[in-house]
């Protein structure tokens, strides 16, 4: 397939996955804040500030909204602000624009589902969000994105188009799940004794819920909800679709499908990098990771995902034509 088309579908998938995770991150925080109750008032800047850092867009945020962090400012920034390239609306708008460029290669229904979603979302704002309540509003958003995936899954032929779609989707998910985990890191607990307390448990349950992982976790791991066990689950559960290991393994498979028909692409830098990251996740010692600093570890995963992304671009999209393989 054409590199440009592969790149468009790859980015379309990344934008959609990011949109979904942005909705999830806002959702988990809204729930966490509710759970804080008396300890910290819901409009305490401290309750919303973490989101700004976790998405890596803090500079942009402070530039646009100044130093005062409020629930409204953060929500607007993350969901409805087109000046923020990672906001929900920006992601959906970009995904739609990409889909429009390859509309004739997607089926009509795939395009229409996304187009309809965008046209509805376009006029939404904070007032609408507040009116419906965060849980209800974000739930609708997630449902719309899931609907798109459902249509895409049943309509897109399993050619390169599909595998690049999955590759984008799962790489973005690996990155985003690491960021959701990181939210917890920023939510400073009042003191050390609080670790393992009722409040701590409530917060971990929220993190799991934001990945729709709570029930799956309960089924797969008996016993206590604690830091170590939740991190272990979201980092490297082999069967839960939103764990980082699962996402990386899926991306690896998609890449395998892409290169299956071209011998000269079998052992390329992106394939090597993905393999290494998967192996690393399979081998990690979770207590040690936590002891050494979870945030640093998660940061490292994000860097590695970025390296994989760059290697993909260099191999399939922006390769140097003078030395490129010529098909006969």
């Amino acid at each position: 397939m054409l590199s440009r088309v592969a790149n468009l579908v790859y980015w379309m998938a990344r934008q959609l996955e990011r949109a979904e995770n942005t909705a999830r991150i806002v959702d988990v925080n809204a729930q966490l804040v509710l759970d804080l109750q008396s300890r910290q008032a819901a409009d305490d800047p401290k309750s919303w500030e973490p989101l700004v850092y976790v998405t890596g867009d803090d500079e942009k945020f402070f530039e646009l909204y100044g130093e005062t962090v409020t629930e409204r400012a953060v929500t607007e920034f993350m969901l409805f602000d087109r000046r923020n390239p990672s906001s929900l609306i920006s992601c959906i708008a970009l995904a739609r624009e990409n889909a429009r460029c390859i509309r004739d290669q997607l089926s009509g229904e795939v395009w229409e589902t996304l187009n309809t979603f965008y046209l509805k979302l376009k006029s939404d704002d904070y007032t609408r969000y507040a009116q419906l309540g965060s849980a209800e509003y974000l739930n609708r958003i997630k449902t719309q994105i899931q609907l798109f995936y459902g249509v895409a899954e049943s309509m897109i032929p399993r050619t390169g188009l599909w595998w690049f779609f999955l590759l984008g989707r799962f790489l973005e998910r690996a990155d985003n799940t690491s960021r959701i985990l990181d939210v917890k890191y920023y939510m400073l607990l009042p003191d050390l004794h609080a670790v393992g307390s009722a409040l701590d448990m409530v917060q971990w349950a929220s993190v799991l819920r934001s990945c729709s992982a709570f029930e799956a976790f309960r089924r797969s791991r008996r016993g206590q909800l604690n830091l170590e066990r939740v991190v272990d689950y979201l980092l490297r559960d082999e069967v839960f679709p939103r764990s980082i290991l699962f996402a990386i393994a899926e991306a690896e498979q998609a890449l395998g499908q892409i290169t299956a028909t071209a011998v000269h692409l079998e052992d390329t830098p992106p394939a090597r990098l993905i393999r290494e990251l998967r192996a690393e996740l399979e081998m990690i010692d979770v207590p040690a990771v936590i002891a050494d600093g979870l945030h640093e570890f998660l940061d490292d995963i994000q860097t590695k995902v970025l390296e994989i992304h760059e290697a993909l671009q260099a191999t399939f999209v922006n390769y140097d034509t003078a030395s490129a393989q010529v098909q006969s």
Partner: protein
């Protein structure tokens, strides 16, 4: 029997359907009788709505330049077909083949030999000052000696019903996708009528086009790769580009998808570079290669010209065809036919005055309110003055432009284009002016799709049929044989 045409007003123009009030021409009689059986206008309007919805559902849209990037509109479609009887078509076909042959010989001559200039039939200066003459190509060998592959000549009928050629479109004529889509819609809305009329199919066009493209490939390539080069998704004709690419099963590419290495063209794929042998380009010459033509073009492919000149890739249409559809060069087409073929033109030109000729310039300036003035290189109904429909200020504005740059303009008498009954919003049938664009393919043989794009000026009284100026289209039915007095069939079931 209710008559949907009872209040139809004929006017002083040639009417495609009626020879006289209430008297349908023979090839329209069947349609007239069929419509006579409809309960009332509501039924016809229902079918019109069905047709419109089908276009929206199928995404048959175009983008208007002045609107912002996301705006797509459907090209309005009128249900009442334009019917061309077999004997008329045979005449048009002969004339169009003759014209295509002469234009091809003219281009071949202009780029290799220039005999027609040497003999003074066409003034040398006219060619050398043409914006679309590509001197870089003089003497360059091109695939199969075919200097033009696709022509969309615009034709009109005057008050007497005489067909003439209004202009040639030898660069990237568009609109053929609407012809094919219009027919698809008509098949749904009037299935039995199409069959009973024995309308000739247009569906072979994409197949013929693909064969033509394959015919142009460099001789040594056993399985050539053909692509369609588009300016991109925001181009007004993108729907057509993607439609044709899909119909032919070829890749649609943008300039950035193509690279030239060692004077060979490749497309960038995820698994490496794949060779490209024929490019059906829907980009003007100016934008094709920034190293040779417009330096600021981001749409083109650096190095493409050299690959083309070396014969490693074929372009359709070839580079430089625009010199023959310069509206001032158009004036000379009848002379070309005589010069190259030794024949009289079967299809006449419209009477044309060149403001570049001193005598004719005087005439033009003295008669502006009566004339249509056109800028020689514009298309799409832009850069044009329709004298009788213009204000004094507009006329004076053009007068100044013509005096400043006479080579840039031609003038023609205002022709009362023929009219065809059309369904008007609000539920009446009224006559609207139409023109006609057939599509002529010049490959191993010359092939003309039996049909074409009939454009209709839907604004009352308007003579401008361009989609950008409020025009719509009609299906064009070329009949397989002439039915002079058709039997009346039983009423078809309405399929909605």
């Amino acid at each position: 029997m209710p008559d949907l045409f009872a209040n139809y007003e004929h006017g002083k123009f040639y009417d495609e359907m009626f020879a006289a009030p209430g008297k349908a021409r023979p090839h329209y009689r069947r349609l007239y009788e069929r419509f006579g059986m409809m309960e009332n206008m509501a039924e016809l309007m229902d079918r019109q709505r069905t047709a419109d919805q089908t276009f929206i559902d199928r995404g048959v849209t175009f983008t208007v330049y002045s609107d912002n990037a996301g705006t797509e509109k459907i090209f309005p479609f009128d249900l009442l077909p334009r019917i061309i009887p077999a004997h008329e078509w045979a005449h048009l076909e002969r004339g169009l083949i003759q014209r295509m042959q002469a234009l091809n010989l003219f281009l071949a001559d202009i780029y290799d030999g220039q005999r027609i200039l040497a003999e003074g039939i066409v003034p040398r200066e006219m060619i050398e000052t043409s914006k679309n003459f590509r001197k870089e190509l003089v003497g360059c060998k091109i695939a199969r000696d075919l200097y033009v592959h696709i022509n969309g000549s615009d034709m009109i009928r005057d008050e007497a019903g005489l067909y003439s050629v209004l202009e040639d479109n030898l660069r990237t004529p568009s609109g053929v996708s609407y012809v094919l889509e219009n027919r698809q819609v008509m098949k749904r809305v009037f299935p039995t009528m199409l069959r009973d009329y024995r309308v000739r199919p247009v569906e072979n066009y994409t197949n013929d086009l693909l064969n033509l493209l394959l015919y142009l490939a460099p001789a040594h390539v056993p399985e050539p790769t053909v692509v369609l080069l588009t300016p991109g998704v925001y181009n007004s004709a993108y729907f057509e580009h993607s439609f044709l690419a899909r119909q032919m099963g070829i890749e649609i590419v943008e300039g950035s998808d193509l690279v030239v290495e060692n004077d060979k063209v490749y497309m960038r794929r995820t698994d490496g570079l794949a060779p490209v042998h024929v490019i059906y380009r829907r980009i003007d010459d100016d934008f094709l290669d920034p190293t040779v033509f417009r330096k600021d073009s981001l749409l083109g492919v650096p190095g493409l010209f050299e690959a083309y000149r070396k014969g490693n890739v074929a372009l359709c249409n070839p580079i430089g065809t625009g010199v023959a559809d310069d509206k001032a060069v158009y004036y000379y087409v009848p002379k070309m036919i005589k010069f190259y073929l030794g024949e009289d033109p079967i299809l006449p030109n419209i009477e044309t005055y060149l403001s570049g000729n001193a005598k004719e310039l005087d005439y033009i300036l003295a008669n502006l309110p009566k004339l249509v003035v056109k800028s020689v290189n514009e298309a799409g109904g832009y850069g044009m003055l329709v004298g009788p429909h213009s204000t004094q200020t507009q006329i004076e504005d053009f007068r100044a432009k013509i005096i400043a740059n006479p080579r840039n303009f031609i003038a023609q008498p205002t022709i009362g284009l023929s009219r065809c009954p059309s369904v008007i919003e609000g539920g009446t049938i009224e006559g609207r002016h139409i023109d006609f664009r057939p599509y002529i393919l010049n490959g191993e043989t010359i092939k003309i799709m039996p049909g074409g794009l009939t454009r209709v000026a839907l604004r009352k009284g308007s003579l401008v049929v361009n989609s950008s100026q409020g025009g719509g289209s009609k299906d064009t039915w070329v009949l397989n044989d002439d039915i002079t007095n058709p039997p009346l069939p039983v009423q078809e079931k309405i399929i909605v």
